[in-house]
Symmetry: C2
Subunit: 129 residues, 2 copies
Amino acid sequence: MSPAPRTTRQRTAVADLLSRVDGFRSAQELHELLRREGASVGLTTVYRHVQALADAGEVDVLRHEDGEAVYRRCASPAHHHHLVCRACGRSVEIEGPAVERWTSQVAAEHGFTDVQHTLEVFGTCADCA
Amino acid sequence: MSPAPRTTRQRTAVADLLSRVDGFRSAQELHELLRREGASVGLTTVYRHVQALADAGEVDVLRHEDGEAVYRRCASPAHHHHLVCRACGRSVEIEGPAVERWTSQVAAEHGFTDVQHTLEVFGTCADCA
DNA sequence: CAGCAACTGACAACCGTTGTCAAAACCAGG
DNA sequence: CCTGGTTTTGACAACGGTTGTCAGTTGCTG
Ligand SMILES: [Zn+2]
Ligand SMILES: [Zn+2]
Ligand SMILES: [Zn+2]
Ligand SMILES: [Zn+2]
């Protein structure tokens, strides 16, 4: 089984930052924020931790239109989706039981198995409008 | 205004291939398929046409988990989503009026404007299972 | 206080994609 | 048909986000 990860200054710094920040941020943005705070962490290391957290399900990942991955620590550990501001990245966790039902139903109708889905809603938030 | 694009061998080859192929394919896959058919087209040119078709709304684009863009000529010009096979790329166009209503409603509730959404369903199709 | 395994980070490599630009192909107008 | 200009093409280089490398550092355990 996987060995427990060590608690290093860098790991803590990345995890803490993700807890403090509101909205989805790219690895490079997080790297830059850390550098400004003085708690400098190598870019490679930021990538590693951010991915480890994603694998552990502690942060959510989604992709910008250009393919860049952005990360966010969400309040809910349960399956949910996001309403994301295009301008500032701020986001709201949303749930839609009806959508969940619909996706698995339509997939079954077409004989698909191992079904997953991605659903994100993008817009401009009130502050950015 | 934009000048009408010329009908060249390459443009026709890419458009035809997209019409014949069932499922989402990357620019590189399309390039390779064309090369095998003998109708060789430069990779750069494939990228250009595939993007032009996407801009014109004639093909749908979505992104694989790793960020690679894949393209497909869909039967319906109207807004729709996809049920995509992870293994072979084959896909079915799906519509969910309820989902459309739900997304705009929840976005409005949170004061978001200019709302768009992405929704794709991934699974393993019957043939690939 | 070892001593070893895990972690770090500067750097290079990777890969999909986009920019460049000279050569080739289209398409009027003559 | 030619011919001139405009568009298109494609080999190649550059780009940007991400991942691999590996020697040096750091936590942790015994
Ligand atoms: Zn905003
Ligand atoms: Zn869901
Ligand atoms: Zn399949
Ligand atoms: Zn929709």
